[in-house]
Amino acid sequence: MTERIINPVTAEELVDRAKQYLQNGHRLIQICCTKTPSEMYLLYSFEKLDLTLENLRLDIQSGDTIPSISDVYFAAFLYENEIHDLYGINVSGMAVDFQGTFYETAVKQPFNIIAADMKE
């Protein structure tokens, strides 16, 4: 990923780092979770109006609780509810907490299951 920066972050540092990005003029453009057979992490993407992009990577495990950054970036509540419903990651202090009803899925935490094809 040339020209794109990924910085590691811990759950304890997350909110302060988000505040720094806000003060530096970055917008939050997305949060996503990735789960593979060997790792699980969140990617927080911040962008300036000149289109430069920076990302924070937070390594996590299934069932972890992480702090919400929706007090810093209001829009984060959407991504955080999505991650909770699809991956089962608990997020504390969300600006709007849908209590697991953001997505109506037949299977709970469907993205927390890795397809058998990929395991092979």
């Binding site: 990923m1 794109r4 917008r27 939050l28 453009i29 997305q30 996503c32 990735t34 789960k35 593979t36 990617l43 993407s45 962008e47 109006l49 289109l51 992009l53 990302n55 970036y73 209001f74 829009a75 959407l78 419903d85 699809l86 709007v96 849908f98 009803t101 953001f102 997505y103 109506e104 899925t105 469907p110 993205f111 890795i114 397809a115 094809d117 990929m118």
Partner: protein, 359 residues
């Protein structure tokens, strides 16, 4: 303070072609708060990368949305090409740009029609969609499809457009522009339209930035940001500036889309005049490995793609953040203080695509 009531808006509503639900907290006729619900038709398409060959996956990705289907396929292809270090032939880049801009024209004309329908201007709605049909005819002639094209592949495009056809499209595009003028003038100048849009749902410059708005919703508040300026596909060779309006209301967002119709028609003309001869695809060997981020400009705004490969034919992760998802906080901002009668117009003003959001 008046008595508070909650009025459910959607998921089935005449103004919504797709299911979106809002709990509108009302004091008399004024909205004082709104709680959104989505997820009625969430498909989990991202998860399918674990079971579908990365080459086949492009046909799934196109089905994220029936309006910007081509650009989703293009975005996926560009993400995988970036990850695999593939530089596709220049002619393929131009063809992708032509189809992408045609998609923008038909998306904006579709939205303008829906907006007219939202404030009861039925004839205006029909004229917008009548003109849009001509764009769909070009799609059908050049790709074989009117909604899903399956013309994009990793390494280029499946089909070429011969130069005679391109020159004919250039004439058709010019005609579309002239025909659209009479219709778009109504959106820009008509008194009754402006009564429903001017000063309604104002988002300031700073609010648009803070709320993470994208696309015409962002540019309608005066923020100069358009992912096409990154120069992907053929955009680096084309002459254009992001379209921006400053008032931040429904009218400004409408005018941005109207002006973008003409900008897209001009970009298609530029592409046809500059398109080089040559191959339109190349053989791509190997499997994707590593991770890659792409950002592109769809009709509704910035889309964010993230892919992670492990050297097999299956990706480990594929992520799409669609523009509508990013614009939901803006919708929640503009609803409080609005009259109930304006809610349909406000809901449409971010051009919500629930199909994209429920990828």
């Amino acid at each position: 303070m008046g008595e508070r009531t909650i009025i459910p808006f959607g998921p089935q509503h005449p103004v919504l072609p797709e299911p979106l639900h809002l709990d509108l907290i009302m004091e008399d006729e004024k909205v004082v708060g709104a709680v959104p619900s989505i997820g009625f038709v969430h498909r989990g398409l991202e998860k399918l990368v674990e079971k579908r060959d990365f080459n086949e996956m492009i046909y799934v990705i196109e089905r994220i949305c029936g309006i910007c289907s081509f650009i989703h396929g293009q975005s996926y292809a560009q993400t995988l090409e970036g990850m695999m270090g593939v530089d596709i032939p220049p002619r393929a880049k131009y063809l992708r740009t032509i189809w992408a801009e045609l998609s923008r024209v038909h998306s904006h004309l579709l939205w303008l029609g829906l907006m007219a329908d939202a404030y009861g201007f039925e004839s205006l709605f029909m004229h917008c969609w009548r003109i849009r049909e001509k764009v769909l005819d070009i799609f059908e002639e050049t790709t074989g499809g009117r909604v899903i094209f399956s013309v994009c592949k990793i390494g280029g495009v499946w089909k070429d457009i011969d130069n005679d056809t391109l020159n004919r499209i250039k004439v058709i595009v010019k005609d579309i522009g002239e025909e659209a003028k009479a219709v778009t003038d109504v959106f820009v100048r008509d008194y009754s339209v402006q009564k429903r849009t001017r000063g309604i749902g104002v988002v300031t410059y700073q609010e648009a930035i803070d709320l993470g708005a994208v696309g015409p919703t962002l540019r309608g508040s005066g923020v100069v940001q358009d992912m096409r300026t990154l120069g992907y596909a053929a955009y680096g060779d084309l002459n254009f500036e992001p379209i921006v309006e400053k008032d931040g209301d429904c009218y400004a967002r409408t005018v941005v889309r109207v002006r973008e119709v003409y900008q897209s028609l001009d970009l298609i003309r530029q592409c046809i005049e500059k398109i080089p001869d040559g191959e339109v695809d190349m053989k791509v060997k190997g499997n994707p490995s590593g991770e890659y981020i792409s950002r592109m400009e769809q009709p509704r705004g910035q889309t964010f793609y993230y892919a992670k490969g492990n050297g097999t034919k299956y990706l480990e992760r594929f992520r799409v953040r669609t523009p509508t998802f990013a614009n939901i906080p803006t919708l929640l901002k503009i609803l409080p203080g609005a009259d109930l009668a304006d809610v349909p117009v406000l809901a449409l003003t971010i051009d919500p695509c629930i199909s994209c959001t429920e990828r």
